[in-house]
């Protein structure tokens, strides 16, 4: 049963919590699939937010430091039911995962000495390195169009060198990068850059 997307239907707190538990904390793959699932449920199926409200929440989630997905969920919860909605959304989306992470970490500590488990962990740890590499690529990819490729390459290379070669603290590197972003505008500025689809940006 699809609701008309109007953004006028306000949920009950328990329904809001149920949606965020189901789609926010039980979807594998991080921000992109979770955002897509939440859009389908909150905008298209239930009509709690209209597409523009959803887009604003998403954009502000991207502007907020920390894990973008959590800020995005807080923004949606706040837009729907103010403080109670924001808190419910945040707890619903983060608590089940936290419990699972603690259980898995305990299991890792318990079993990592077992010879069979050691082989399994060896392979899985090697894949973790690949996962970090893929995350780097997914972060950079939306900024590699012709307009921004040169600046992106300079900032990435500079950041790698600053940390790996010159051992600058990461916070300082980020501060320098912000300065570069302030001074070196992309070739599309001062026009607004094209709006990145949420399917392009990791969380």
């Amino acid at each position: 049963m699809a609701a008309q997307p109007g953004g006028d239907l306000k949920p009950k707190l328990r329904d809001l919590g149920a949606v965020f538990i189901r789609f926010g904390s039980l979807t594998f793959g991080g921000g992109i699939p979770t955002t897509a699932a939440l859009q389908r449920e909150i905008v298209q199926r239930r009509g709690w937010l209209d597409p523009q409200q959803f887009g604003i929440c998403y954009a502000l989630g991207q502007l907020t430091p920390g894990t973008n997905l959590l800020a995005f969920c807080v923004a949606m919860g706040w837009s729907l039911l103010r403080a109670a909605g924001a808190l419910t959304a945040l707890l619903s989306v983060s608590t089940p995962g936290m419990i699972l992470v603690i259980l898995l970490t305990r299991a890792y500590e318990t079993w990592s000495g077992n010879p069979v488990a050691q082989h399994i962990v060896h392979g899985a740890l090697a894949s973790a390195v690949g996962i970090v590499g893929a995350s780097c690529w997914q972060l950079v990819r939306p900024y590699l169009d012709r307009r921004r490729a040169a600046r992106t390459a300079v900032i990435v290379a500079g950041s790698v060198l600053a940390l790996a070669r010159f051992h600058l603290p990461p916070v300082q590197v980020l501060g320098l990068a912000a300065l570069v972003g302030l001074i070196w505008r992309d070739r599309g500025s001062p026009q607004a850059a094209p709006k990145d689809s949420f399917t392009d940006s990791p969380s």
């Binding site: 502000l60 894990t67 945040l90 973790a128 390195v129 590197v173 972003g181």
Partner: protein, 175 residues
């Protein structure tokens, strides 16, 4: 390690990053390099655990907290993870529909791109710990390429890597 200090350290990492794993360089710098309460091996394991569970990628910080200070540390990690999310409320209130300002976008883009560079630099010592032979190298490269080139979920990549490593150990026990 004092749990409140751990919370502040992890909060510093989350509040200065703009995506799930982008906090990794600061966490490594603070907890592995400066304070030595975590090893590269544990940090790698935390990333692995975080990616093996559903929900936000940043949940790996809970595992980092657990390795550093047990269950209270995990709680500190969780609090450090969720605290910055509240910053979106004043943004929603004051910025509202003017989020497309080019100058703000430029600065944020530069910070996000720099985070990727920092992650890349941080992955070097992690790789030195985890990639100790030909098979782990193949697994790491294949995992990276699979995640970039296919829509396959991370959990299947991790399970496949674990299965491959186990199968290889059965075939060559003296590897």
């Amino acid at each position: 390690m004092n749990v409140f200090i751990l919370y502040l350290v992890l909060l510093k990492a989350t509040v200065t990053s703009f995506s799930g794993l982008a906090s990794l360089p600061i966490i490594r710098d603070e907890l592995v390099v400066k304070r030595a309460v975590l090893t590269d091996h544990q940090l790698n394991a935390a990333v692995l655990v975080g990616r093996s569970t559903p929900g936000p990628i940043g949940l790996y910080i809970v595992s980092v907290g657990y390795f550093a200070a047990g269950t209270p540390g995990a709680a500190a990690g969780w609090l450090a993870l969720i605290t910055p999310a509240f910053l979106v409320i004043p943004l929603l209130h004051y910025l509202g529909r003017s989020t497309e300002h080019p100058r703000i976008k430029n600065v944020l883009e530069a910070v996000v791109v720099s985070s990727a560079g920092l992650m890349l630099a941080t992955s070097i010592p992690l790789a030195q710990d985890a990639v100790t032979g030909a098979l782990p190298l193949i697994i790491a490269a294949a995992s990276c390429l699979t995640l970039i080139a296919t829509p396959l979920d991370t959990i299947w990549v991790i399970l496949g890597s674990a299965a491959l490593s186990l199968a290889a150990s059965e075939l060559t026990p003296f590897r």
